[in-house]
């Protein structure tokens, strides 16, 4: 049905403000990374670059261990996403499709994980990891990231499992399928969008994690982007060109990931949560 003209104008205006609020900072950073140094600090900033150079990227990659950080971040994030899935899928399936005693209570306890400050576990976890020899390993980061992504992942999968008609499951079970077979053969293929959404959530959680990575990792060669890049920021304080190049490169992988499967994530957050 048709919208009155003034509402269309208001909608367009609102959309423009929203796009500017989110898009402009990114535009300035990414376009700034290709500007010549004197243009970056010009008194009157330019919207479209007047100059083009790759010198900031060259300097960043040759003068710092940026590529190492990037590889570490990808490694940690991919592994965290995988482990989260392996733990979250069966748990969520059992919570919402099987019945057992204490199910509700256990589920509530898991949700409580969101109600305490994550920094609380940093101190004791550091001590425990030190004893286990896990400090300064990327595995430590994977463990921590999974711990923080898991409760939300289980909650997020809930609506996807709920949206599958019980009859499908019943039929498979009558055909003699054990719960594990039903999960692997029927439920996982049917909830693929939800699984993609959870994978993205876990990946992003790990990709952006700073606190634990800054405390658990001691050697430069094992740093992830958030910590490695903050070191670069400290070292090249006012070399904005170099820092903008670093920021652009840190944005790139998640943007690529989102371009490929981002809409599954949004579906998972919006339509999935409806049920």
């Amino acid at each position: 049905m048709r919208r009155p003209l003034r509402w269309s104008i208001a909608l367009a205006a609102g959309l423009l403000v929203l796009a500017a609020l989110i898009g402009l900072p990114f535009w300035w950073v990414v376009s700034g990374a290709f500007k010549a140094p004197q243009e970056i600090i010009a008194r009157v900033p330019t919207f479209f670059p007047q100059s083009f150079t790759l010198e900031h990227f060259e300097k960043l990659l040759s003068a710092s261990d940026y590529l190492t950080y990037l590889v570490n971040s990808v490694f940690v994030s991919v592994l965290s996403a995988l482990v989260t899935l392996v733990l979250a899928i069966p748990a969520s399936y059992a919570f919402f499709r099987l019945t057992f005693r204490g199910r509700e209570t256990l589920y509530r306890i898991i949700l409580l994980a969101y109600a305490f400050p994550s920094i609380v576990v940093l101190i004791p976890l550091f001590a425990t990891f030190a004893r286990l020899g896990l400090v300064d390993t990327r595995l430590a980061l994977v463990l921590v990231n999974v711990a923080f992504a898991l409760p939300f992942a289980i909650w997020m999968l809930r609506s996807f499992f709920a949206s599958i008609p019980r009859e499908i499951e019943e039929a498979a079970r009558l055909d003699g399928g054990a719960p594990l077979t039903v999960l692997l053969r029927i439920m996982i293929p049917l909830t693929a969008p939800g699984i993609a959404a959870v994978a993205i959530f876990a990946f992003v959680t790990s990709w952006t994690e700073y606190v634990f990575a800054s405390v658990m990792i001691l050697s430069d060669a094992k740093r992830t982007i958030p910590v490695g890049f903050s070191g670069i920021i400290g070292q090249y304080q006012v070399d904005w060109g170099l820092l903008l190049a670093g920021a652009s490169l840190a944005i790139l992988p998640v943007v690529l990931l989102f371009a490929l499967i981002g809409r599954w994530f949004v579906t998972g957050l919006t339509e999935g949560a409806v049920k």
Partner: protein, 290 residues
């Protein structure tokens, strides 16, 4: 075949994992708060509730608690408001709405260190975009140092953190909006209700439960924010942005007083947990879905 046992086998790995990485450290933090351990790895002696007496009489702790309250309220208000406006826009039908719904989340998927760098640059007095724009518009007559005073640093950080989180909240709000049956709007339209009336009479009351849940979630999320503050101001200037998580981190990893940090952490947890419990009780009483 024993079904409950199988169900439990499905849940067990996740449970064991969370017990080891979250629950056990929480217990150890409590035990640590009853000792006098300084740096990690050293042992201390049991001191009972001494740390609690010391912290509760400590002005810095109360100042941080106050700042945390202010931080949570300001962020919850700003990010919920921005999210509501964004969700109302994205709830409309227009060409490209799918693209808009996907890419609005951009602020949330980039590392906080990048978010901090972006805004530090945009707010900076050399080459930043904000000062020239405000100057041009005549809002200010000379460049402003946004992180120069405790108050302006605090307000700027609230803006940056809400900027990072509001799209995420907006998408969850969108879920609540799409749950409202569209025939309600149809009926209202036929009865001649204008857009504003449809918002106040249909959207707002039916969205209220979702908004309450998201306010609670937003409160928990903002309370825990550490990296944005730490990377931007390290709690300064003059401790003006030293919320509880910053205080805990500083006490543990700058002053090397593990037990004191654990004590503050336990107190913060108690505060947050009681809020969560009260909030969920309130939700349950107002007759919501779980």
């Amino acid at each position: 075949m024993n079904r409950p046992l199988i169900a439990f086998a499905f849940v067990a790995p996740a449970l064991v994992f969370l017990a080891a990485t979250l629950a056990w450290p929480l217990v150890s933090a409590f035990l640590l708060s009853l000792q006098n351990v300084r740096s990690v790895g050293t042992t201390g002696t049991w001191v009972g509730l001494e740390n609690y007496q010391y912290i509760l009489a400590n002005a810095a702790f109360w100042r941080s608690t106050g700042l945390s309250f202010g931080w949570v309220i300001a962020n919850a208000a700003l990010q919920t408001l921005l999210a509501l406006l964004a969700a109302l826009i994205l709830h409309q039908k227009f060409p490209g709405v799918r693209v808009a719904r996907t890419w609005i989340i951009l602020t949330w998927i980039v590392p906080t260190v990048v978010v901090v760098m972006i805004w530090r640059w945009l707010f900076s007095t050399s080459g930043g975009m904000i000062n020239p724009i405000l100057l041009q518009l005549g809002i200010i007559d000379r460049p402003v140092g946004f992180f120069a005073t405790p108050e302006s640093a605090f307000a700027t950080l609230v803006f940056i953190n809400s900027w990072r989180w509001f799209p995420f909240i907006a998408l969850m709000m969108l879920a609540g909006m799409s749950r409202i049956p569209s025939d309600l709007y149809e009926a209202a339209r036929i009865d001649g209700a204008g857009a504003f009336k449809r918002f106040t009479r249909i959207t707002w009351p039916l969205l209220a439960p979702t908004l309450t849940v998201l306010l609670i979630v937003g409160t928990l999320l903002s309370f825990n924010v550490f990296d944005v503050i730490w990377l931007m101001t390290q709690g300064g200037p003059a401790g003006g942005t030293r919320t509880l998580p910053v205080l805990i981190y500083e006490t543990a990893f700058r002053s090397y007083r593990m037990s004191e940090a654990a004590t503050i952490a336990v107190l913060a947890t108690a505060l947050l947990m009681s809020f969560a419990v009260l909030a969920t009780r309130y939700l349950a009483r107002s007759g919501d879905e779980r």
